[in-house]
Symmetry: C3
Amino acid sequence: MAAEGSKRTRTLGDLADLVGGRVRGDASLPIDDVAPLESAEGRHVSFFANRRYKKLLDATRAGAIILAPEDASLSDGRAILEVKNPYLAFAKVSALFHPVQAPSPGIDSHACVHPEADVDPSATVMAFAYVGRHARIGPHSVLHPGVVVMEEARVGAHCLLHVNASVRERCILGDRVILQPSAVVGSDGFGFAFDPEALSHVKVPQAGIVRIEDDVEIGACSCVDRATLGETVVGAGTKIDNLVQVAHNVRIGPLSILCGQAGVSGSTQIGAGVVLGGQVGIAGHLDIGDRAKIAAQAGVHTNVPADATWAGAPAGPHREFFRNAVAFNRLAQLVTEVRELRAAVAELQKKPATKPRRKSKP
Amino acid sequence: MAAEGSKRTRTLGDLADLVGGRVRGDASLPIDDVAPLESAEGRHVSFFANRRYKKLLDATRAGAIILAPEDASLSDGRAILEVKNPYLAFAKVSALFHPVQAPSPGIDSHACVHPEADVDPSATVMAFAYVGRHARIGPHSVLHPGVVVMEEARVGAHCLLHVNASVRERCILGDRVILQPSAVVGSDGFGFAFDPEALSHVKVPQAGIVRIEDDVEIGACSCVDRATLGETVVGAGTKIDNLVQVAHNVRIGPLSILCGQAGVSGSTQIGAGVVLGGQVGIAGHLDIGDRAKIAAQAGVHTNVPADATWAGAPAGPHREFFRNAVAFNRLAQLVTEVRELRAAVAELQKKPATKPRRKSKP
Amino acid sequence: MAAEGSKRTRTLGDLADLVGGRVRGDASLPIDDVAPLESAEGRHVSFFANRRYKKLLDATRAGAIILAPEDASLSDGRAILEVKNPYLAFAKVSALFHPVQAPSPGIDSHACVHPEADVDPSATVMAFAYVGRHARIGPHSVLHPGVVVMEEARVGAHCLLHVNASVRERCILGDRVILQPSAVVGSDGFGFAFDPEALSHVKVPQAGIVRIEDDVEIGACSCVDRATLGETVVGAGTKIDNLVQVAHNVRIGPLSILCGQAGVSGSTQIGAGVVLGGQVGIAGHLDIGDRAKIAAQAGVHTNVPADATWAGAPAGPHREFFRNAVAFNRLAQLVTEVRELRAAVAELQKKPATKPRRKSKP
């Protein structure tokens, strides 16, 4: 919970030390919060990284600006904090002014914790949170109202489970995992075998679990299905946005990024440092190589090599896709041209065959 | 909560007065409910606006039909309520027969309201609803079971928060806001800065809030992320369908419509009266002009001018897209034709150059 | 809840009898669980159906393998259970080793059941589950923590409602229905009529209900909207994956499959045995014929005939789509070719018109 009341004043120089940057201007300038360019005031530091917002930079009343050396010349006489990675610096400075406030530890009288659950005394279990039999909640973890952790599930240390998030039976969360509101970990995988005699889709037991490694964040209303057998895995440091679907037996490597409304079908393996754009769909049983980047809304039906950037549906290399997409925008025109060409060629073909060239004899 | 038991009989004339329409037939006809064409009976008024359903109109046993003047001739001798905007008239008539039933005010003994929260005495807080410290619930608002309103959040007057909906800390709901079940307001925006030294995605604090203006409705399992700094805003009278993603720092103008599973990326501004079709994706940092309409599944990567109708991915003007999409459906054929043309042209090129025309001399 | 502690040893012969298969090898081999090829040990039976995983088959230490007769030769000397439909056999064998464990019946002291609700004594209502006035919970049904069943809703026999799932007022669930976590049944349909005088989107009352027939499963965070009037229907035995949107007045036939993140717009009728791939979007007021298959990410804007396989957006017959999609991948090249052809034809056209062939007269 980032809250407004938690600010302490620092100097611009303090902030530069924190982020390994350099002050141009008055290093003793007092700063007591970060603020967006458009609403910042003199005691605020703001942040500039996208030249689309140059006008906001020109108009801002911020006391100081965090920006990259190559953008330093864009700012007028104002104090600046020059740093190689302004976004990272901004993250660190903002975290300084908006520390996560730990609620008081303990189990609320309106919570329900099974007598055989194991909740660390430093953990917080808020009203209407439920912890099942033999479930384990690690040190300093926080369960907000409506959170459900079913039997034999394990939540590591320093986890934050926002309202109405749920972890079904036997699933495992590492340390420092964050679940946004109504995120679901451990729902049944979507597995049915059609029985032609009984005329029914027979449910395949989803007897496996989900294992979420350390430092993962899972977005609001995102769903990670438990494995049919074995484990669905989300690797350490991977971040998943809202409304994302991760199907059973998917394995996602560390440090990947899945943007909003992306979907990954069953048994697909996603490497390390992969980025899936918004609304991307990945078919099942595929391998997506390390550091592959898949553009928004792409539909991936084949393996993707490491370091590739893909787009389109069916997806392929990004550059070709955009070249073809540009061509698509004059496709109707192209059809017309081809029709005209056919007519012209037909006309040419009608012409009499000319005789082989020879000396004309008088 | 619309319920079956709330009907009172009116005459068709009463209904015409309510909606500013004109009766053709017996204005004293008693009507005690609205019903679909296929199941309506003599004491029901039904509604016709889509000629696709002409057969249902022919077969209906409804006592009366609401329809537009231009469709009046489609109905036989039956009583009709002729009105310029039949769908709007239907909405008003249906609301008459299905009034929202306010539950009794008060805080259920199974609810949990922080002693320092401020719940209006006319509000209703049902079992297992949670209201945090310094949160405020306005007059006549209703929190259904499992609803969570975190600390310092504000819910206006006459709001209806359906089961398991949540509003995170400090977020603001105006008056007459409706949250469908499991809607999420105020989840963290998806912001991470990669730290190449620590080899981790560092979380950018999402210290801002969400502000939902008056008369907004947000669908089931839809998510509106809080701003990194400042506010994510949903403008007055805007309606959001189910499973929609609204990212951090998005600003949506008044009276817009976002259909199911649409997604809007961070910092994009959406104007007034905009319509996003189902599964539309909008990239970040864009401006979508007032009254723009984006067709279902479009992928928008550039600004959209006001009043434009766009489609496709990457999206562009709707008419061109559909012309090109039609052409796409014979693209394989086009490839064949071009191959044939190449062969024909090559053949023509092989022919000897003919001489300039001149009088043939014998 | 499938749990690890529930295993009993069987012989491979027992399993063959259960699934109507044939043992090749030692029928007395003791088996006490199913396991994936990669982690199976000697007392496990594993399952092989996808030749993509042939290497795992070669390396597995499983005591026995379930596979189809045509794959029998792929396995070495190991015991095999040969059966026509290995996936169905696997489902049955896995269910044997992972029976659903019924929790003890009764209403938890932390649950909230309206005194006028009707909960069968064999049903289970766990902590923080809510059952409203005149709601009915049938025999052996289980409501997990955070489940909400609003007033006058009906849940049949042997249903399983996972954590934080909800059923709004008056909606109906048949027997053996499963709701995954945070699934929503009965949210308001998305219906508004624009009132140009009041400048507002007037809410059309969503006075109907949802009827979920027997043996339906609905995925995590999936939403089925209640009808404007009448019923939204999900037919018997249909299975819906996670994050799927089913709009108001949709009618889905029996035994259909809706994969993750698919969306169906209002009043569309989906037949029996239809399959919608992941992220498919279907426009409103359409008919999708029995057994139609719609490929992932397709956008359907017209009726689809029975037994058709469609793909693309706008969608059409699958084979044409893929032929055209292949052509799309060389579209930029095609544009270049057409430009060259135009130049070549223009060059040819510049040549003098030759005379019609005739006998040359001296």
